[in-house]
Symmetry: C2
């Protein structure tokens, strides 16, 4: 890699004090990082770009931006039941701003330490603000999207709708008190990668993913790849308390269609449900996998029901900032 002198050094210097993580033979500073893969299992890797003005406001707290960027990527590892090992950062910045970079590096370091993942490389370029992070983890029992079967129960790992309800506050489009604003910031910038839940369900679940674009849309991806469909009972959805507080009657739709919560959606064969229920997870059963419709009929793969009637969202689609 060719790190531009100056910018990347600030971030690297922040990480110099961090303990050298598992498998890092040679970190930042050569043409490549050298990494020792785990002895068992597979590597799981995922990359995500966040662009200012699209995925976060350009003037947002840089520590929060960094936290969200890394957490969103770690959520992809959780969705595969992979243990976080390493990440790289490609940072494009309009101009060198030491204060911004320190804030960003602080947020990144705190998040990396919390999840035991090591920064092993990066690139800094001049240009419009955007952040690309690639995470790599190790998995001995990967969870995939393509294993759901007819009759499996559909679960979500925890409350939904918080991030979507928080978005208008995060964007400054809606005023709120201090405590509500703080909770909204937390919901949007600090999603919790469901790593522990993924590890717990991995022996039982037939498929899984993380909910980034909204439950109905993302469950659709499981259905497409597993060639099945699903019925969802909206009354069963665990709606986040802050979503009810901020969105009132609209909270249910946010829970069904809003994105950015990064809970897991997963399926479990009927015969494994008793074991799952014994795990004491926050996970809630919300539906059932049914026969797949024609493969071209993607729009109908997930059917939401409310009081015995088909339910459709009022909004054509949610704003994914």
């Amino acid at each position: 890699m060719q790190a531009t002198p100056g910018e990347f050094e600030i971030i690297r210097d922040y990480f110099a004090g961090a303990p050298r993580g598992e498998g890092v033979v040679l970190g930042i500073g050569d043409d490549c990082a050298l990494l020792q893969p785990p002895a068992d299992g597979l590597l799981a890797t995922s990359v995500d770009t966040l662009v200012a003005g699209r995925h976060f406001p350009a003037d947002a707290d840089p520590a929060a931006i960094a936290a969200r960027a890394l957490r969103v990527n770690l959520s992809d590892l959780a969705a595969m039941n992979a243990r976080p090992l390493w990440f790289t950062l490609a940072l494009t910045l309009p101009h060198s701003d030491a204060e911004w970079l320190r804030g960003f590096a602080d947020g990144l370091l705190q998040t990396a330490q919390a999840y035991g993942v090591s920064l092993v490389g990066g690139d800094t370029t001049k240009g419009p603000l955007s952040i690309t992070i690639q995470v790599t983890g190790g998995s001995t029992a990967p969870l995939r999207r393509d294993g759901a079967s007819v009759g499996d129960a559909v679960y979500v790992s925890g409350p939904l709708g918080a991030a979507a309800a928080a978005l208008p506050l995060v964007l400054g489009q809606k005023l709120a008190g201090d405590s509500e604003r703080k909770e909204a910031q937390r919901a949007y910038y600090f999603p919790e990668p469901q790593l522990a839940t993924a590890a717990a369900i991995a022996p039982l679940a037939s498929s899984a993913l993380d909910i980034s674009d909204g439950l109905l849309a993302d469950l659709g991806h499981i259905c497409e790849q597993s060639r099945v469909s699903a019925d969802i009972d909206l009354h069963a959805l665990p709606v986040a308390a802050i979503a009810r507080q901020l969105a009132g009657e609209g909270a249910l739709e946010l829970a069904a269609c809003g994105g950015d919560d990064y809970q897991l959606c997963f399926t479990v064969p009927q015969e494994r449900i008793p074991e799952l229920e014994q795990l004491g997870l926050e996970a809630v059963r919300i539906g059932t996998v049914i026969e797949g419709a024609g493969l071209s009929d993607n729009g109908e793969r997930v059917r939401a029901w409310l009081d015995g009637e088909r339910w459709f969202p009022e909004s054509a689609g949610y704003q994914h900032f």
Copy 2:
């Protein structure tokens, strides 16, 4: 990963026909790719971002942009003596443009096939044009920057100055005939990752890197990390024919300071020189590693000599587009 529907599918569809590469258990389409690391050795990984208007003209041939983006990354693997395995693509585009994407995907696929490297994941976002590629390879005998010792000979793997001489033509700042323009395009957009040379020298070399920012600057990185200095004889530099043709008298300075050629610079202990010379490589000895100056004295780590006198570049620095 969350691939934006539309853009990334075009690229993915182009790759659907490509043979599934080594170690790819699950490719594009789930939350993560699943990869089986090689049984022996370490992984080497590197990330680079190319921004339109900075690393390439926004209106350049998309196939050439893709080729350069991947080749530049593969060069980082060559610099570590790592065998290319996998790469990811994070592509930020101002608007969906099917023709541009097809050209880009074509260039990417041809390059990937030529070097036996598999696209395993990606992300497409809307925003100012930029390309981030991360490559991962496997190495049983990695080459590092920090192994040079006093007395080692300094080599470059092949001719220098071509890309820097080509740049004014690539940018349209200088007119030229068809054949010169074509050769300039080739020099700038299609650098050859020195994978075979790296594999050949790995048992003999004490350090290596690829020359992206210019020989003197990059050899400085070897010196800093090895805590040594180096003397270079400019008369020994292999100056690319096209650099002489396009830049005349200025070609030597382009060979010494111009970037983007992606040849290797490496050091070899005296006692291994006979073995190296027997390999029949294009590599040329250009200098010798000497005692390191004080670690803070980075500017003096590499001393260039011409006819027995210290030589300094006329330009303060070269334009790295």
